[in-house]
Amino acid sequence: MSEVGEAAQSAVSAAEVLIHSIAGLLAGSRHVAVGASSPIPGAAALYTRVVSNGATRVSVLGSRRHNAFTNGGVELFDLAAQGRIDAFFLGGGQIDGEANINLVGIGAYPQTDVRWPGSFGSAYLYYLVPRVILFREEHTRRVFVPKVDFISAPGPRDDGVYRPGGPHAMVTSLCLFDFDRVRRRFVLKSVHPGHTLEEVRDNTGFDFDVPQNVSATPAPDAAALALIRGRVREEIAETYPKFAAQLQG
């Protein structure tokens, strides 16, 4: 690699790699919705809207300019049940190897030792949105546990429940996983630049599949970077000004 190439590469931030890789997971969606406190997924959705020439509709909750809902908070849930939301993002204080997620707390419910905000819409959207992308930056064994303490939303299983949706992929600060809904296991897809498979293994508390050749997560090229640092940064700034300021560098 030339010196110029290396310099350009080192200038790519971790957030930009995440935005770019999440955008790759959203390609072809008709309608992407983004929940609260989600600047990186929001930026990825807005990026997708630009590169699709507006073919991908985006609804960013908490935004005035990038959210056209006029029927209150219920509108997102009604759309999802009709199959009119293709992609959504969920996180979790704990996530286990079967893609069960816990947004409630650690310890025995209800008097949990640690209490998080609550399940939000996860106990519903996880079943109904075809491409749910699990996004959790902190990649540690306290997050990625063998078994969650509380199931806010269950990973897919063969239980006859109406479930056109479910987990599609999981993005962390270290790597990108696919989720195999039949085998109910995460499959490592790529490791982000600057990180290793060993690091992923050491920091994950559940078993996952590792294909023979694990690739590196592609970093955004010059055109993608220019878009992220330009129009996408401007658009996400309305909802997440502090985050947008960080993108500039």
């Binding site: 406190s37 005035r64 219920v74 209800p110 609550g118 939000f120 519903y124 806010s152 006859g160």
Partner: protein
């Protein structure tokens, strides 16, 4: 309808009421919540639509809440809600954890005057496992298709803050349409308004679709900056300095009480009364 004071409005929330409140973006009647604390309301069954933050944390910290029905309590970018966390750990409140669309569905059932609303999702969760009041039924049209039935949530009182009200009691809510649902579902609706306008809000066809007609409204109080310290609309941002201090101080009950006192009586209180 006469426009009453915030204190008088708070007087219309009885002890033990099932009180339904709005999420931060919809319009939170913080001035009225502080007035509820001042009047010492007790044993509230609080229902948040569908999530809440500071308003619920203050009411819990001040000992006003017996039961909390919610999908999430968070102070957003300021962090976790300290009084809520403390009350959960101590078992000081009865917790009815929900999921956002289930709260909307319960209110929609109330709005329609029907006993329950079916809803997708929710099956096989620990949310459902801890809600004996939620039932799993067979879709009567497709046997074997299990679906969750949510009982109607019929609030005694709905309370929120709105941009405009007129002296007939019509309330303009802009695109915050879920406030319409709160008002339709509740037995009585109490509103604080940023501005009171002369004339009749329903006369303007361009905005009448975003007006809750007075038939649902029990009382209106004039409360400029009535969502403080929370944000309201485009004009009023969140009081980040106060919120930052709250999230640090309220980690202890004594610290919470100091913050509450400053909000009720100090310069902040003077702002509320202004």
């Amino acid at each position: 309808m006469t426009v009453i004071s915030v204190a008088e409005l708070a007087g219309q929330v009885p002890d033990g009421a099932k009180l339904v409140i709005a999420k931060d973006e919809s319009g939170v009647a913080m001035a009225a919540a502080f007035a509820l604390v001042r009047r010492g309301v007790k044993n509230l069954h609080l229902v948040t639509v569908p999530v809440s933050g500071l308003e619920t944390d203050v009411l819990i910290g001040a000992g006003c809440v017996a039961t909390l029905e919610t999908s999430a309590i968070t102070l957003g970018e300021f962090g976790l809600a300290p009084c809520f966390s403390r009350a959960v750990k101590a078992g000081a409140i009865v917790l009815k954890d929900a999921t956002c669309p289930a709260i909307y569905a319960g209110l929609q059932a109330a709005q329609k005057g029907i006993p329950f609303m079916p809803l997708r999702g929710i099956l096989e969760t620990d949310v459902l496992a801890n809600r004996p009041d939620w039932k799993v039924i067979d879709n009567p049209f497709v046997p074997g298709d299990r679906i969750v039935a949510l009982p109607a949530i019929v609030p005694d009182v709905a309370l929120f803050h709105a941009p405009l009200a007129d002296r007939q009691g019509n309330v303009f809510i802009g695109r915050q349409r879920e406030l319409m649902l709160l008002a339709h579902a509740a037995r009585s609706t109490l509103v604080t308004a940023e501005r009171i306008v002369e004339g009749n809000l329903l006369d303007d066809e361009a905005r009448s679709g975003s007006v809750i007609p007075s038939l649902y409204i029990s009382a209106v109080a004039h409360a400029p900056r009535g969502a403080w310290p929370l944000a309201f609309g485009d004009a009023d941002g969140v009081d980040a300095e106060w919120m930052g201090r709250y999230v640090r101080e309220a980690k202890t009950q004594a610290g919470f009480e100091r913050m509450l006192e400053s909000a009720l009586d100090g310069s902040a209180g003077a702002r509320l009364a202004a």
